[in-house]
Amino acid sequence: MLEIKNLSVSIQDKIILENINLEIKSGQVMVLFGPNGSGKSTLLKTIMGFSGYEKKSGQIIFKGKNIDSLSIEERVKLGLGMMYQNPPKVRGVKLLEVAQFLSKDKKNIEELSEKLSLKEHLNREINLGFSGGEIKRAELFQILLQDPELLFLDEPESGVDLENISLMGGILNNYLRKQNKSALIITHTGYILDYIKADSGCVMIEGRLWCMGSPKEIFESIRKKGYEKCRVCHAPERIE
């Protein structure tokens, strides 16, 4: 479904991602681990086509099509979708307006907002005055209405209390499995893995991917030995 070949990306002439190779198959859920600042969000934003992320080399192929020249909305129309780690506040635009753009099904909007305790937020400007948990739930709300084929989830659990992680994780796992969706989930705490069943995992350190394997095993190794150990441990297996 998504194939990334030899991708290198710079931001303001500074190389952030180097020679990334990655493949996500249809229906596959992959977890991307990595310390803060390792380039995980840069990878997602580059695939989405955001400005400021300059592709130096490589290819991004989605559903067999090279998407390099496509605008963000064209990539979205093709089936990509992203749940932000830190979305901007959008003054003047109400959550309901975006929801109604994403789905014509009023009942679905109502039920999902109820489920995610966002009913009272529908008529509020997006993310303005929202708490950390509310921001994440609003992101999840939008991405589920958007219903992409491949979901990018950027640190879905960061800044969220356990109760919210449980609520969101349950809804997400249900959605991914029932709809046979593909996903790439960024996490550095790994809490979300208690709720979402992932098929594979990989680690990003300093803009490079270092290994690919069982997400639980990788996470256990990171938890016990940290990322530095992970790099040493998996050095021979670095993906290039």
């Binding site: 909305e73 979205v76 992203m82 932000y84 003054r91 400007e125």
Partner: protein
């Protein structure tokens, strides 16, 4: 002055109107069917074309006829200008007279339309609006031009009198075209516990507007509020301000504006003057520049002769954050749709104190006009 009687006028507002008249009048928020209004007035160039009141509590007619029929009206003519030692043009023709009777609440809005129709015509009107003690009224005025009114000019003098405990909610919609020059001059006088709310909307192109309406809070507990939504098109100038003079104690004023430049120049002025103690006043101007050639200049002014006052202002000008556009694009909006939805949100009609009866209409009108503007 020209006397205009009602005998010769059509029975319905919608009678004898050409298509281009109807189009222009509707674009300025006027209900041609009159179904949602309690009184209507229409002036084309200098000709009084229609006036009718459907309520015994409202008098509506041309200002000339009102002066002729009601001796006391003469006292009001020019009164607010004398109060501020200001001169005013005397070469006016027409304008509306509206009076709402004491203690009466007018449930549906009153509407008045000033239409420019003839090429190069200089329309000069003088309006008088009197809200008697304890009366409550919504007034919507649409000022507009047909396609034929090239290079025309509009001067609109308005004097508002809100007597003790009265309430006037005045919505003015400017729906001009790119070669029209406009000079409104307004003064409102508000007595004890009276309220004057002015909502101003200008979204269509206009060559040049200069206006600086003033409200005088003459007696205790009076309140004034000026709220404006301004969209500026390339090669246009909109020099638009609002002034409130807080003469009495415990008076309150608010000036709020949202300005968007698509390439034209907007000067957003505001002036709050405290001439007594224990007053409260706030001024807020926010501007968004969408074109590299656009200019917004915010000039907020506050003056006080007293220590015990609570006055504040905030002003912010900027462009749309790229991150917000891309965020909406990542939900599937095109760049243009994202920009449009952000601008529509910025030009939020909730900053206006619109009555429920007008809210939906104005919202639809704004949506339609903004859609055409992008």
């Amino acid at each position: 002055m020209k006397n205009v009687g009602s005998a010769m006028l059509p029975k319905e507002l919608n009678s004898n109107l050409e298509n281009q008249d109807q189009e222009a009048i509707s674009s300025a928020g006027i209900d041609l069917s009159e179904k949602s209004r309690l009184a209507s007035f229409l002036q084309k160039d200098s000709e009084i074309s229609f006036f009718r009141s459907l309520s015994k509590d409202i008098e509506i007619l041309s200002v000339e006829e009102a002066i002729k029929n009601f001796p006391e009206v003469k006292e009001y003519y020019g009164k607010n200008f004398k109060l501020l030692n200001r001169e005013f043009p005397l070469d006016t023709e027409g304008g509306y007279f509206i009076r709402v009777k004491r203690e009466k609440t007018v449930e549906l809005p009153i509407q008045a339309c000033l239409l420019l129709k003839t090429k190069g015509f200089k329309q000069k009107v003088h309006n008088l609006i009197i809200v008697e003690e304890g009366a409550k009224v919504y007034l919507i005025t649409g000022c507009t031009a047909t396609k034929s009114a090239d290079e025309a000019f509009h001067l609109g003098i308005s004097e508002f009198f809100v007597h003790k405990g009265g309430y006037l909610n005045f919505t003015m919609i400017h729906s001009w075209k790119e070669d029209i020059t406009v000079r409104p001059i307004s003064i409102a006088y508000i007595e004890e516990k009276g309220s004057f709310i002015s909502n101003y909307i200008s979204l269509k192109p206009v060559k040049d507007i200069q206006m600086y309406p003033t409200a005088v809070l003459a007696e205790n507990f009076a309140r004034a509020s000026f709220n404006s939504l301004i969209l500026s098109h390339p090669n246009t100038l909109q020099d638009i301000g609002s002034r409130v003079i807080l003469k009495a104690e415990q008076t309150q004023a608010e000036i709020i504006s949202r300005a968007v430049s698509l390439g034209g120049k907007i000067i957003a002025r505001g002036h709050l003057k405290a001439e007594n103690k224990n007053i409260k006043a706030h001024l807020e101007c926010r501007g968004l520049i969408l074109s590299e050639r656009g200019t917004i200049q915010a000039i907020p002014e506050m003056e006080s002769d007293w220590r015990d006052v609570d006055m504040s202002h905030e002003a912010a000008i900027g462009k749309i954050n790229q991150e917000e556009i891309e965020y909406l694009c990542s939900r599937g909006f095109s760049k243009q749709q994202a920009q449009s939805i952000i601008v529509r949100g910025f030009m939020d009609i909730d900053i206006l104190e619109l009555p429920e009866a007008l809210r939906k209409e104005i919202s639809l009108l704004e949506e339609k006009t903004l859609k055409l503007g992008f």
